[in-house]
Protein backbone atom coordinates (compact mmCIF):
# COMPACT_ATOMS: atom_id res chain seq x y z
CA UNK A 1 0.00 0.00 0.00
CA UNK A 2 2.81 2.41 0.90
CA UNK A 3 4.25 1.89 -2.58
CA UNK A 4 0.96 2.87 -4.21
CA UNK A 5 0.72 5.96 -2.02
CA UNK A 6 4.24 7.01 -2.91
CA UNK A 7 3.44 6.40 -6.55
CA UNK A 8 0.39 8.64 -6.25
CA UNK A 9 2.56 11.22 -4.48
CA UNK A 10 4.91 11.17 -7.47
CA UNK A 11 1.88 11.78 -9.71
CA UNK A 12 0.93 14.78 -7.57
CA UNK A 13 4.49 16.10 -7.77
CA UNK A 14 4.12 16.00 -11.53
CA UNK A 15 0.77 17.79 -11.46
CA UNK A 16 2.16 20.42 -9.07
CA UNK A 17 5.14 21.03 -11.31
CA UNK A 18 3.08 21.25 -14.47
CA UNK A 19 0.72 23.77 -12.88
CA UNK A 20 3.08 26.03 -10.93
CA UNK A 21 6.34 26.11 -12.88
CA UNK A 22 6.96 28.97 -15.29
CA UNK A 23 9.76 27.46 -17.29
CA UNK A 24 8.87 25.54 -20.46
CA UNK A 25 11.55 22.91 -19.83
CA UNK A 26 10.37 22.39 -16.25
CA UNK A 27 6.82 21.93 -17.48
CA UNK A 28 8.01 19.28 -19.92
CA UNK A 29 9.91 17.55 -17.08
CA UNK A 30 6.85 17.70 -14.82
CA UNK A 31 4.74 16.05 -17.49
CA UNK A 32 7.46 13.43 -17.78
CA UNK A 33 7.25 12.80 -14.02
CA UNK A 34 3.49 12.33 -14.27
CA UNK A 35 4.04 9.81 -17.03
CA UNK A 36 6.67 7.93 -15.00
CA UNK A 37 4.37 7.70 -11.98
CA UNK A 38 1.60 6.19 -14.09
CA UNK A 39 4.07 3.74 -15.65
CA UNK A 40 5.27 2.81 -12.17
CA UNK A 41 1.65 2.32 -11.10
CA UNK A 42 1.06 -0.06 -14.01
CA UNK A 43 4.18 -2.06 -13.20
CA UNK A 44 3.14 -2.22 -9.52
CA UNK A 45 -0.22 -3.66 -10.58
CA UNK A 46 1.54 -6.51 -12.31
CA UNK A 47 4.06 -7.22 -9.56
CA UNK A 48 3.68 -10.36 -7.44
CA UNK A 49 6.15 -11.11 -4.66
CA UNK A 50 8.42 -13.99 -5.61
CA UNK A 51 6.94 -14.36 -9.08
CA UNK A 52 8.92 -14.94 -12.26
CA UNK A 53 8.79 -13.58 -15.76
CA UNK A 54 5.82 -15.08 -17.62
CA UNK A 55 7.61 -17.46 -19.99
CA UNK A 56 5.72 -20.73 -20.19
CA UNK A 57 7.79 -23.91 -20.09
CA UNK A 58 7.09 -27.51 -19.27
CA UNK A 59 6.73 -28.20 -15.57
CA UNK A 60 6.37 -24.51 -14.81
CA UNK A 61 4.56 -24.10 -11.52
CA UNK A 62 5.89 -20.89 -9.97
CA UNK A 63 3.53 -17.87 -9.84
CA UNK A 64 4.04 -15.44 -12.72
CA UNK A 65 3.86 -11.66 -12.89
CA UNK A 66 1.06 -10.24 -15.02
CA UNK A 67 2.55 -9.57 -18.47
CA UNK A 68 -0.15 -7.20 -19.81
CA UNK A 69 0.74 -4.08 -17.76
CA UNK A 70 4.37 -4.57 -18.73
CA UNK A 71 3.35 -4.50 -22.38
CA UNK A 72 1.26 -1.41 -21.68
CA UNK A 73 4.19 0.32 -20.01
CA UNK A 74 6.42 -0.32 -23.02
CA UNK A 75 3.83 1.22 -25.31
CA UNK A 76 3.16 4.18 -23.07
CA UNK A 77 6.91 4.90 -22.71
CA UNK A 78 7.15 5.09 -26.50
CA UNK A 79 4.16 7.44 -26.67
CA UNK A 80 5.61 9.64 -23.94
CA UNK A 81 8.88 9.74 -25.84
CA UNK A 82 7.00 11.06 -28.86
CA UNK A 83 5.13 13.69 -26.88
CA UNK A 84 8.26 14.81 -25.00
CA UNK A 85 10.27 15.05 -28.21
CA UNK A 86 7.57 17.11 -29.87
CA UNK A 87 7.22 19.41 -26.87
CA UNK A 88 10.97 19.90 -26.64
CA UNK A 89 11.03 20.77 -30.35
CA UNK A 90 8.24 23.28 -29.78
CA UNK A 91 10.11 24.74 -26.80
CA UNK A 92 13.21 25.24 -28.95
CA UNK A 93 11.20 26.99 -31.66
CA UNK A 94 9.47 29.15 -29.05
CA UNK A 95 12.87 30.11 -27.64
CA UNK A 96 13.99 31.17 -31.11
CA UNK A 97 10.93 33.39 -31.47
CA UNK A 98 10.66 34.86 -27.97
CA UNK A 99 14.22 34.53 -26.62
CA UNK A 100 12.90 33.18 -23.33
CA UNK A 101 11.55 30.01 -21.72
CA UNK A 102 9.46 31.98 -19.20
CA UNK A 103 5.76 31.41 -19.89
CA UNK A 104 4.76 34.70 -18.26
CA UNK A 105 6.62 36.47 -21.08
CA UNK A 106 5.27 34.24 -23.85
CA UNK A 107 1.87 35.86 -24.13
CA UNK A 108 1.12 37.00 -27.61
CA UNK A 109 -2.20 35.17 -27.60
CA UNK A 110 -5.12 36.78 -25.86
CA UNK A 111 -5.66 34.05 -23.36
Amino acid sequence: MILYLMCFFLFLVGVYGAITKRDLIKIILAIGIMGYSVNLFLVLLAYRTGALAPILEKGFNVPMVDPIPQALVLTSIVIELGVTALMAALAIRIYQKYDTFDITKIRRLQG
Partner: protein, 501 residues
Protein backbone atom coordinates in the same frame (compact mmCIF):
# COMPACT_ATOMS: atom_id res chain seq x y z
CA UNK B 1 -11.20 -7.33 -43.69
CA UNK B 2 -13.32 -4.25 -43.96
CA UNK B 3 -12.62 -2.82 -40.52
CA UNK B 4 -8.85 -2.76 -40.54
CA UNK B 5 -8.96 -0.73 -43.77
CA UNK B 6 -10.04 2.33 -41.83
CA UNK B 7 -6.77 2.22 -39.95
CA UNK B 8 -4.23 0.86 -42.38
CA UNK B 9 -5.26 2.82 -45.48
CA UNK B 10 -4.55 6.28 -43.99
CA UNK B 11 -1.53 4.92 -42.11
CA UNK B 12 -0.13 3.47 -45.34
CA UNK B 13 -0.89 6.73 -47.11
CA UNK B 14 1.08 8.63 -44.45
CA UNK B 15 4.10 6.37 -44.95
CA UNK B 16 3.87 6.52 -48.73
CA UNK B 17 3.71 10.31 -48.62
CA UNK B 18 6.80 10.47 -46.43
CA UNK B 19 8.61 8.00 -48.71
CA UNK B 20 7.77 9.34 -52.14
CA UNK B 21 6.45 12.87 -51.87
CA UNK B 22 9.61 14.57 -50.61
CA UNK B 23 10.91 15.12 -54.10
CA UNK B 24 7.63 15.54 -55.96
CA UNK B 25 5.32 17.37 -53.65
CA UNK B 26 2.24 16.99 -55.85
CA UNK B 27 2.12 13.25 -55.21
CA UNK B 28 1.32 13.97 -51.56
CA UNK B 29 -2.06 15.48 -52.33
CA UNK B 30 -2.91 12.68 -54.78
CA UNK B 31 -2.10 9.92 -52.28
CA UNK B 32 -3.92 11.70 -49.45
CA UNK B 33 -7.00 12.35 -51.53
CA UNK B 34 -7.09 8.79 -52.85
CA UNK B 35 -6.85 7.38 -49.32
CA UNK B 36 -9.58 9.72 -48.06
CA UNK B 37 -11.88 8.86 -50.95
CA UNK B 38 -11.27 5.14 -50.44
CA UNK B 39 -12.18 5.13 -46.76
CA UNK B 40 -15.11 7.48 -47.33
CA UNK B 41 -16.57 4.92 -49.75
CA UNK B 42 -15.76 2.05 -47.39
CA UNK B 43 -17.40 3.85 -44.48
CA UNK B 44 -20.61 4.24 -46.49
CA UNK B 45 -20.47 0.55 -47.43
CA UNK B 46 -19.91 -0.35 -43.78
CA UNK B 47 -22.85 1.79 -42.67
CA UNK B 48 -25.30 0.27 -45.13
CA UNK B 49 -24.06 -3.29 -44.74
CA UNK B 50 -24.23 -3.20 -40.97
CA UNK B 51 -27.93 -4.19 -40.52
CA UNK B 52 -27.24 -7.39 -42.47
CA UNK B 53 -24.66 -8.35 -39.83
CA UNK B 54 -27.08 -7.84 -36.96
CA UNK B 55 -25.77 -4.40 -36.09
CA UNK B 56 -22.30 -5.52 -35.00
CA UNK B 57 -19.13 -6.51 -36.83
CA UNK B 58 -16.31 -7.60 -34.55
CA UNK B 59 -12.84 -8.18 -35.83
CA UNK B 60 -10.12 -9.79 -33.72
CA UNK B 61 -6.79 -8.40 -34.78
CA UNK B 62 -4.88 -11.62 -34.11
CA UNK B 63 -5.46 -15.36 -33.99
CA UNK B 64 -6.73 -15.10 -30.42
CA UNK B 65 -10.21 -13.99 -29.54
CA UNK B 66 -11.17 -11.24 -27.09
CA UNK B 67 -10.41 -10.57 -24.20
CA UNK B 68 -6.92 -11.85 -25.09
CA UNK B 69 -6.56 -9.71 -28.16
CA UNK B 70 -7.38 -6.22 -29.32
CA UNK B 71 -10.66 -6.08 -31.17
CA UNK B 72 -12.14 -3.68 -33.68
CA UNK B 73 -15.85 -3.23 -33.15
CA UNK B 74 -18.20 -1.64 -35.64
CA UNK B 75 -21.69 -0.95 -34.36
CA UNK B 76 -24.32 1.59 -35.38
CA UNK B 77 -22.74 4.46 -33.44
CA UNK B 78 -19.23 3.89 -34.76
CA UNK B 79 -20.46 3.44 -38.35
CA UNK B 80 -22.24 6.78 -38.06
CA UNK B 81 -19.14 8.47 -36.61
CA UNK B 82 -16.95 7.01 -39.37
CA UNK B 83 -19.12 8.63 -42.02
CA UNK B 84 -19.00 12.00 -40.25
CA UNK B 85 -15.22 11.89 -39.79
CA UNK B 86 -14.32 10.65 -43.24
CA UNK B 87 -16.73 12.99 -45.02
CA UNK B 88 -15.22 16.05 -43.34
CA UNK B 89 -11.71 14.63 -43.82
CA UNK B 90 -12.23 14.12 -47.57
CA UNK B 91 -13.58 17.61 -48.12
CA UNK B 92 -10.86 19.19 -45.97
CA UNK B 93 -8.17 17.29 -47.88
CA UNK B 94 -9.71 18.41 -51.16
CA UNK B 95 -9.73 22.01 -49.94
CA UNK B 96 -6.16 21.69 -48.72
CA UNK B 97 -4.77 20.81 -52.17
CA UNK B 98 -4.68 24.44 -53.17
CA UNK B 99 -4.88 26.14 -49.78
CA UNK B 100 -1.61 24.58 -48.69
CA UNK B 101 0.27 26.35 -51.51
CA UNK B 102 0.65 29.23 -49.05
CA UNK B 103 2.80 27.04 -46.83
CA UNK B 104 6.03 25.14 -47.35
CA UNK B 105 6.41 21.44 -46.64
CA UNK B 106 3.25 20.19 -48.32
CA UNK B 107 4.17 16.54 -47.84
CA UNK B 108 4.61 17.10 -44.10
CA UNK B 109 1.13 18.51 -43.92
CA UNK B 110 -0.53 15.63 -45.72
CA UNK B 111 1.44 12.98 -43.83
CA UNK B 112 0.37 14.48 -40.49
CA UNK B 113 -3.19 14.85 -41.78
CA UNK B 114 -3.31 11.15 -42.62
CA UNK B 115 -1.86 10.20 -39.23
CA UNK B 116 -4.51 12.27 -37.49
CA UNK B 117 -7.18 10.52 -39.54
CA UNK B 118 -5.70 7.13 -38.62
CA UNK B 119 -5.93 8.00 -34.96
CA UNK B 120 -9.51 9.18 -35.21
CA UNK B 121 -10.71 6.14 -37.15
CA UNK B 122 -8.88 3.97 -34.64
CA UNK B 123 -10.55 5.65 -31.65
CA UNK B 124 -13.93 5.12 -33.27
CA UNK B 125 -13.40 1.47 -34.09
CA UNK B 126 -11.45 0.12 -31.16
CA UNK B 127 -13.04 -2.11 -28.57
CA UNK B 128 -10.15 -1.93 -26.13
CA UNK B 129 -9.35 0.70 -23.50
CA UNK B 130 -5.61 0.83 -23.95
CA UNK B 131 -5.90 0.80 -27.72
CA UNK B 132 -8.23 3.77 -27.40
CA UNK B 133 -5.49 5.58 -25.50
CA UNK B 134 -2.89 4.71 -28.15
CA UNK B 135 -5.01 5.88 -31.08
CA UNK B 136 -5.97 8.99 -29.15
CA UNK B 137 -2.31 9.84 -28.69
CA UNK B 138 -1.59 9.21 -32.39
CA UNK B 139 -4.19 11.73 -33.43
CA UNK B 140 -3.26 14.18 -30.66
CA UNK B 141 0.46 14.19 -31.44
CA UNK B 142 -0.25 14.90 -35.10
CA UNK B 143 -2.79 17.55 -34.04
CA UNK B 144 -0.16 19.31 -31.88
CA UNK B 145 2.23 19.32 -34.82
CA UNK B 146 -0.44 20.56 -37.23
CA UNK B 147 -1.47 23.40 -34.91
CA UNK B 148 2.15 24.58 -34.97
CA UNK B 149 2.40 24.04 -38.74
CA UNK B 150 2.78 27.70 -39.61
CA UNK B 151 5.65 28.01 -37.05
CA UNK B 152 4.75 31.61 -36.26
CA UNK B 153 5.16 32.61 -32.63
CA UNK B 154 1.43 32.53 -31.84
CA UNK B 155 1.04 29.13 -33.43
CA UNK B 156 3.94 27.64 -31.49
CA UNK B 157 2.56 29.11 -28.28
CA UNK B 158 -0.90 27.70 -28.93
CA UNK B 159 0.53 24.32 -29.82
CA UNK B 160 2.63 24.18 -26.65
CA UNK B 161 -0.39 25.07 -24.57
CA UNK B 162 -2.47 22.40 -26.28
CA UNK B 163 0.32 19.83 -25.94
CA UNK B 164 0.78 20.54 -22.22
CA UNK B 165 -2.90 20.26 -21.41
CA UNK B 166 -3.38 17.29 -23.71
CA UNK B 167 -0.40 15.41 -22.24
CA UNK B 168 -1.53 15.98 -18.63
CA UNK B 169 -5.06 14.76 -19.30
CA UNK B 170 -3.89 11.83 -21.41
CA UNK B 171 -1.81 10.73 -18.43
CA UNK B 172 -4.94 11.00 -16.29
CA UNK B 173 -6.81 8.79 -18.75
CA UNK B 174 -4.02 6.22 -18.64
CA UNK B 175 -4.15 6.32 -14.84
CA UNK B 176 -7.90 5.67 -15.01
CA UNK B 177 -7.36 2.77 -17.39
CA UNK B 178 -4.77 1.34 -14.98
CA UNK B 179 -7.24 1.49 -12.10
CA UNK B 180 -9.93 -0.18 -14.21
CA UNK B 181 -7.49 -2.91 -15.20
CA UNK B 182 -6.48 -3.52 -11.62
CA UNK B 183 -10.12 -3.95 -10.69
CA UNK B 184 -11.35 -6.07 -13.59
CA UNK B 185 -8.16 -7.69 -14.99
CA UNK B 186 -9.24 -6.94 -18.52
CA UNK B 187 -8.94 -4.13 -21.01
CA UNK B 188 -11.69 -5.12 -23.44
CA UNK B 189 -14.46 -2.55 -23.04
CA UNK B 190 -17.36 -4.98 -23.14
CA UNK B 191 -15.61 -7.32 -20.71
CA UNK B 192 -14.98 -4.46 -18.28
CA UNK B 193 -18.68 -3.60 -18.48
CA UNK B 194 -19.61 -7.23 -17.91
CA UNK B 195 -17.39 -7.56 -14.84
CA UNK B 196 -18.62 -4.29 -13.36
CA UNK B 197 -22.24 -5.28 -13.90
CA UNK B 198 -21.74 -8.21 -11.54
CA UNK B 199 -20.21 -6.15 -8.73
CA UNK B 200 -22.32 -2.98 -8.83
CA UNK B 201 -20.57 0.35 -8.35
CA UNK B 202 -17.50 0.14 -6.12
CA UNK B 203 -16.29 3.45 -4.67
CA UNK B 204 -13.07 3.16 -6.65
CA UNK B 205 -15.08 3.62 -9.83
CA UNK B 206 -15.86 7.23 -8.93
CA UNK B 207 -12.15 8.04 -9.13
CA UNK B 208 -12.18 6.54 -12.63
CA UNK B 209 -15.24 8.60 -13.55
CA UNK B 210 -13.48 11.75 -12.39
CA UNK B 211 -10.30 10.98 -14.28
CA UNK B 212 -12.20 10.16 -17.47
CA UNK B 213 -14.44 13.23 -17.27
CA UNK B 214 -11.38 15.45 -16.82
CA UNK B 215 -9.47 13.60 -19.53
CA UNK B 216 -12.09 13.32 -22.23
CA UNK B 217 -13.73 16.56 -21.11
CA UNK B 218 -10.54 18.42 -22.04
CA UNK B 219 -10.50 16.77 -25.44
CA UNK B 220 -14.14 17.84 -25.85
CA UNK B 221 -13.31 21.39 -24.64
CA UNK B 222 -16.12 21.50 -22.09
CA UNK B 223 -15.98 24.71 -20.15
CA UNK B 224 -13.57 24.41 -17.26
CA UNK B 225 -11.26 22.55 -19.65
CA UNK B 226 -11.75 24.75 -22.71
CA UNK B 227 -8.82 27.17 -22.48
CA UNK B 228 -6.73 25.53 -25.20
CA UNK B 229 -9.38 25.48 -27.93
CA UNK B 230 -9.70 29.19 -28.81
CA UNK B 231 -5.91 29.34 -29.21
CA UNK B 232 -5.24 26.03 -30.89
CA UNK B 233 -8.06 25.82 -33.43
CA UNK B 234 -7.54 29.27 -34.99
CA UNK B 235 -3.77 28.80 -35.14
CA UNK B 236 -3.93 25.71 -37.35
CA UNK B 237 -4.21 25.95 -41.15
CA UNK B 238 -7.88 26.27 -42.14
CA UNK B 239 -8.48 22.66 -43.31
CA UNK B 240 -7.01 21.47 -40.01
CA UNK B 241 -9.17 23.90 -38.04
CA UNK B 242 -12.10 22.37 -39.86
CA UNK B 243 -10.93 18.89 -38.89
CA UNK B 244 -10.16 19.84 -35.28
CA UNK B 245 -13.37 21.72 -34.62
CA UNK B 246 -15.49 19.62 -36.93
CA UNK B 247 -14.53 16.12 -35.91
CA UNK B 248 -11.53 15.81 -33.58
CA UNK B 249 -13.24 17.23 -30.49
CA UNK B 250 -16.22 15.01 -31.22
CA UNK B 251 -14.28 11.83 -31.83
CA UNK B 252 -11.79 12.03 -28.97
CA UNK B 253 -14.25 13.81 -26.72
CA UNK B 254 -17.94 13.21 -27.20
CA UNK B 255 -17.69 9.80 -28.86
CA UNK B 256 -15.24 8.49 -26.25
CA UNK B 257 -17.39 9.85 -23.40
CA UNK B 258 -20.53 8.31 -24.85
CA UNK B 259 -18.91 4.97 -25.61
CA UNK B 260 -17.34 4.66 -22.18
CA UNK B 261 -20.02 6.13 -19.94
CA UNK B 262 -23.11 4.88 -21.77
CA UNK B 263 -21.99 1.54 -23.15
CA UNK B 264 -19.46 0.40 -20.58
CA UNK B 265 -20.49 2.04 -17.30
CA UNK B 266 -24.23 2.01 -18.06
CA UNK B 267 -24.85 5.79 -17.92
CA UNK B 268 -24.45 6.49 -14.18
CA UNK B 269 -26.71 9.34 -13.06
CA UNK B 270 -23.98 11.31 -11.30
CA UNK B 271 -21.92 11.47 -14.51
CA UNK B 272 -24.92 12.56 -16.55
CA UNK B 273 -25.59 15.35 -14.04
CA UNK B 274 -21.99 16.53 -14.19
CA UNK B 275 -22.02 16.46 -18.01
CA UNK B 276 -25.30 18.35 -17.97
CA UNK B 277 -23.77 21.08 -15.81
CA UNK B 278 -20.56 21.29 -17.86
CA UNK B 279 -22.55 21.29 -21.10
CA UNK B 280 -24.79 24.15 -19.95
CA UNK B 281 -21.76 26.14 -18.78
CA UNK B 282 -20.11 25.56 -22.17
CA UNK B 283 -23.16 26.78 -24.04
CA UNK B 284 -23.38 30.01 -22.06
CA UNK B 285 -19.70 30.89 -21.66
CA UNK B 286 -18.72 29.86 -25.20
CA UNK B 287 -21.65 31.78 -26.63
CA UNK B 288 -21.02 35.01 -24.76
CA UNK B 289 -17.25 34.98 -25.27
CA UNK B 290 -17.81 34.61 -29.04
CA UNK B 291 -19.65 37.91 -29.18
CA UNK B 292 -16.62 39.96 -28.12
CA UNK B 293 -14.11 38.37 -30.51
CA UNK B 294 -12.68 40.27 -33.45
CA UNK B 295 -10.59 37.49 -34.94
CA UNK B 296 -12.77 35.54 -37.40
CA UNK B 297 -11.30 32.12 -36.56
CA UNK B 298 -11.12 32.78 -32.82
CA UNK B 299 -14.81 33.65 -32.87
CA UNK B 300 -15.48 30.32 -34.58
CA UNK B 301 -13.37 28.59 -31.93
CA UNK B 302 -15.45 29.97 -29.06
CA UNK B 303 -18.56 29.14 -31.03
CA UNK B 304 -17.35 25.51 -31.18
CA UNK B 305 -17.24 25.42 -27.38
CA UNK B 306 -20.80 26.68 -27.26
CA UNK B 307 -22.06 24.24 -29.89
CA UNK B 308 -20.31 21.23 -28.36
CA UNK B 309 -22.25 22.10 -25.20
CA UNK B 310 -25.47 21.46 -27.10
CA UNK B 311 -24.21 18.04 -28.19
CA UNK B 312 -23.20 17.15 -24.64
CA UNK B 313 -26.45 18.22 -23.00
CA UNK B 314 -28.32 16.23 -25.63
CA UNK B 315 -26.50 13.08 -24.57
CA UNK B 316 -26.51 13.98 -20.87
CA UNK B 317 -30.33 14.12 -20.82
CA UNK B 318 -30.23 10.37 -21.29
CA UNK B 319 -33.62 10.26 -23.01
CA UNK B 320 -34.01 8.84 -26.54
CA UNK B 321 -35.06 12.25 -27.88
CA UNK B 322 -32.10 13.96 -26.23
CA UNK B 323 -29.65 11.44 -27.66
CA UNK B 324 -31.21 11.80 -31.10
CA UNK B 325 -30.72 15.56 -30.80
CA UNK B 326 -27.14 15.10 -29.63
CA UNK B 327 -26.29 12.78 -32.52
CA UNK B 328 -27.90 15.07 -35.08
CA UNK B 329 -26.20 18.16 -33.71
CA UNK B 330 -22.89 16.30 -33.72
CA UNK B 331 -23.32 15.49 -37.42
CA UNK B 332 -24.69 18.88 -38.41
CA UNK B 333 -22.11 20.80 -36.41
CA UNK B 334 -19.37 18.81 -38.12
CA UNK B 335 -20.74 20.01 -41.47
CA UNK B 336 -21.46 23.68 -40.81
CA UNK B 337 -18.52 24.37 -38.52
CA UNK B 338 -16.06 22.88 -41.01
CA UNK B 339 -17.78 24.95 -43.71
CA UNK B 340 -17.35 28.12 -41.64
CA UNK B 341 -13.70 27.37 -40.89
CA UNK B 342 -13.04 26.71 -44.57
CA UNK B 343 -14.73 30.04 -45.36
CA UNK B 344 -12.55 31.83 -42.83
CA UNK B 345 -9.57 30.14 -44.48
CA UNK B 346 -10.73 31.42 -47.87
CA UNK B 347 -11.04 34.95 -46.48
CA UNK B 348 -7.56 34.70 -45.01
CA UNK B 349 -6.21 33.25 -48.28
CA UNK B 350 -7.66 36.11 -50.29
CA UNK B 351 -7.06 39.09 -48.01
CA UNK B 352 -4.23 37.87 -45.76
CA UNK B 353 -6.03 38.91 -42.58
CA UNK B 354 -8.77 37.53 -40.40
CA UNK B 355 -9.32 40.59 -38.24
CA UNK B 356 -12.97 41.53 -38.67
CA UNK B 357 -12.15 45.21 -38.09
CA UNK B 358 -10.02 45.31 -41.23
CA UNK B 359 -12.40 43.32 -43.40
CA UNK B 360 -15.65 44.51 -44.88
CA UNK B 361 -17.68 44.59 -48.06
CA UNK B 362 -16.29 41.31 -49.34
CA UNK B 363 -19.63 40.06 -50.65
CA UNK B 364 -19.13 41.59 -54.07
CA UNK B 365 -15.63 40.36 -54.66
CA UNK B 366 -15.88 36.93 -53.03
CA UNK B 367 -19.31 35.73 -54.10
CA UNK B 368 -18.88 32.02 -53.38
CA UNK B 369 -17.28 32.55 -49.98
CA UNK B 370 -19.90 35.09 -49.03
CA UNK B 371 -22.79 32.85 -50.08
CA UNK B 372 -21.45 29.74 -48.37
CA UNK B 373 -20.74 31.69 -45.17
CA UNK B 374 -24.33 32.86 -45.28
CA UNK B 375 -25.50 29.25 -45.52
CA UNK B 376 -23.22 28.32 -42.61
CA UNK B 377 -24.50 31.25 -40.55
CA UNK B 378 -28.12 30.33 -41.15
CA UNK B 379 -27.42 26.69 -40.30
CA UNK B 380 -25.52 27.34 -37.08
CA UNK B 381 -28.06 29.86 -35.82
CA UNK B 382 -30.89 27.43 -36.48
CA UNK B 383 -32.94 29.02 -39.24
CA UNK B 384 -35.25 26.54 -40.99
CA UNK B 385 -34.92 24.69 -43.38
CA UNK B 386 -31.17 24.52 -42.71
CA UNK B 387 -29.98 21.57 -40.68
CA UNK B 388 -29.04 23.34 -37.41
CA UNK B 389 -32.68 24.24 -36.83
CA UNK B 390 -33.79 20.62 -36.51
CA UNK B 391 -31.09 19.46 -34.14
CA UNK B 392 -31.42 22.48 -31.86
CA UNK B 393 -35.19 22.18 -31.86
CA UNK B 394 -34.98 18.52 -30.89
CA UNK B 395 -32.48 19.26 -28.10
CA UNK B 396 -34.64 22.06 -26.69
CA UNK B 397 -37.81 19.95 -26.86
CA UNK B 398 -35.94 17.05 -25.23
CA UNK B 399 -34.72 19.35 -22.41
CA UNK B 400 -38.23 20.52 -21.69
CA UNK B 401 -39.83 17.08 -21.90
CA UNK B 402 -37.13 15.71 -19.57
CA UNK B 403 -37.98 18.35 -16.99
CA UNK B 404 -34.80 20.41 -17.49
CA UNK B 405 -36.75 23.55 -18.33
CA UNK B 406 -34.02 25.98 -17.26
CA UNK B 407 -31.47 24.27 -19.52
CA UNK B 408 -33.97 24.31 -22.37
CA UNK B 409 -34.54 28.04 -21.98
CA UNK B 410 -30.79 28.71 -21.79
CA UNK B 411 -30.25 26.64 -24.94
CA UNK B 412 -32.94 28.59 -26.76
CA UNK B 413 -31.60 31.97 -25.61
CA UNK B 414 -27.99 31.23 -26.51
CA UNK B 415 -29.23 30.20 -29.94
CA UNK B 416 -30.22 33.85 -30.38
CA UNK B 417 -26.78 34.92 -29.16
CA UNK B 418 -25.34 32.61 -31.83
CA UNK B 419 -27.30 34.46 -34.47
CA UNK B 420 -26.04 37.74 -33.00
CA UNK B 421 -22.34 36.93 -33.28
CA UNK B 422 -22.68 35.47 -36.73
CA UNK B 423 -24.52 38.56 -37.88
CA UNK B 424 -21.51 40.44 -36.56
CA UNK B 425 -19.33 38.35 -38.88
CA UNK B 426 -21.66 39.02 -41.79
CA UNK B 427 -21.76 42.74 -41.11
CA UNK B 428 -18.06 43.27 -40.59
CA UNK B 429 -16.68 40.83 -43.13
CA UNK B 430 -19.06 40.52 -46.05
CA UNK B 431 -21.44 43.45 -45.95
CA UNK B 432 -21.15 46.96 -44.60
CA UNK B 433 -18.40 49.43 -45.33
CA UNK B 434 -15.34 48.40 -47.24
CA UNK B 435 -12.48 47.68 -44.88
CA UNK B 436 -8.80 48.38 -45.21
CA UNK B 437 -8.04 44.82 -46.33
CA UNK B 438 -8.01 44.25 -50.09
CA UNK B 439 -8.70 41.08 -52.02
CA UNK B 440 -5.22 40.15 -53.16
CA UNK B 441 -5.84 36.73 -54.61
CA UNK B 442 -8.74 34.79 -56.04
CA UNK B 443 -10.02 31.77 -54.15
CA UNK B 444 -8.96 28.77 -56.25
CA UNK B 445 -11.22 26.09 -57.67
CA UNK B 446 -10.64 23.24 -55.19
CA UNK B 447 -11.34 25.47 -52.19
CA UNK B 448 -14.54 26.78 -53.76
CA UNK B 449 -15.73 23.27 -54.63
CA UNK B 450 -15.22 21.97 -51.11
CA UNK B 451 -17.10 24.94 -49.68
CA UNK B 452 -19.99 24.57 -52.13
CA UNK B 453 -20.33 20.85 -51.40
CA UNK B 454 -20.42 21.49 -47.66
CA UNK B 455 -22.96 24.28 -48.11
CA UNK B 456 -25.13 21.95 -50.15
CA UNK B 457 -24.79 19.31 -47.44
CA UNK B 458 -26.11 21.86 -44.91
CA UNK B 459 -29.40 21.71 -46.77
CA UNK B 460 -29.37 18.09 -47.95
CA UNK B 461 -28.57 16.66 -44.53
CA UNK B 462 -31.85 18.07 -43.23
CA UNK B 463 -33.40 15.21 -45.20
CA UNK B 464 -32.39 12.84 -42.41
CA UNK B 465 -35.31 14.33 -40.54
CA UNK B 466 -37.82 12.71 -42.92
CA UNK B 467 -39.52 10.22 -40.58
CA UNK B 468 -38.96 7.07 -42.66
CA UNK B 469 -35.23 7.75 -43.08
CA UNK B 470 -34.90 8.66 -39.43
CA UNK B 471 -36.61 5.48 -38.36
CA UNK B 472 -34.45 3.28 -40.51
CA UNK B 473 -31.03 4.82 -39.97
CA UNK B 474 -31.04 6.98 -36.83
CA UNK B 475 -33.17 4.99 -34.43
CA UNK B 476 -30.75 2.00 -34.35
CA UNK B 477 -27.97 4.42 -33.38
CA UNK B 478 -30.08 5.91 -30.60
CA UNK B 479 -30.87 2.40 -29.41
CA UNK B 480 -27.16 1.54 -29.34
CA UNK B 481 -26.45 4.50 -27.08
CA UNK B 482 -29.63 4.19 -25.05
CA UNK B 483 -29.67 0.45 -24.49
CA UNK B 484 -27.36 0.39 -21.51
CA UNK B 485 -26.44 -3.23 -21.99
CA UNK B 486 -26.89 -3.68 -25.74
CA UNK B 487 -23.22 -3.09 -26.58
CA UNK B 488 -22.02 -5.52 -23.93
CA UNK B 489 -24.65 -8.08 -24.88
CA UNK B 490 -23.71 -7.95 -28.53
CA UNK B 491 -19.98 -8.37 -27.86
CA UNK B 492 -20.46 -11.05 -25.19
CA UNK B 493 -20.86 -14.01 -27.61
CA UNK B 494 -17.40 -13.25 -29.01
CA UNK B 495 -15.76 -13.37 -25.58
CA UNK B 496 -13.51 -16.33 -24.91
CA UNK B 497 -14.25 -17.40 -21.36
CA UNK B 498 -12.19 -20.57 -21.39
CA UNK B 499 -9.04 -19.11 -19.86
CA UNK B 500 -5.59 -19.35 -21.39
CA UNK B 501 -5.37 -21.82 -24.23
Amino acid sequence: MILSQFIFVPLLAAFLIVLFARKKENIAAVIALAACAWILIVSFIAFFKLPAHGGMILNNTSGWSIPYTISLVLDNLSAFMLIVVNLVAFLSAFYAIQYINHFTGKWNFFALFMLMLTGMNGVILTGDFFNLYVFMEISLISAYALVAFGTESEELEASFKYATMGAITSTMILFGIGILYSYTSTLTMADVGLQLRNVGTPKLLFLVYGLFIAGFGLKTALVPFHAWLPDAHPSAPAPISAMLSGVLIKTLGVYALVRIFFNVFGAPTVVLQILMLLGTLSIVIGGFLSVVQWDFKRLLGFSSISQIGYVVIGFALGTPLGILGGLLHLFYHAIFKSLLFLDSGAVEYATDTRDLRQLGGLSKEMKVTSATTMVGTLSISGIPPFNGFFSKLIIIIACISAGQIVVGIIAALVSIVTLAYFLKVQKHAFFGKKGSAKVLEKVPFAMKTAMIILAALCLISSAIMIPSIRKQYLNPIVDTVMGKTSYIDKVEPYLDKGGVK
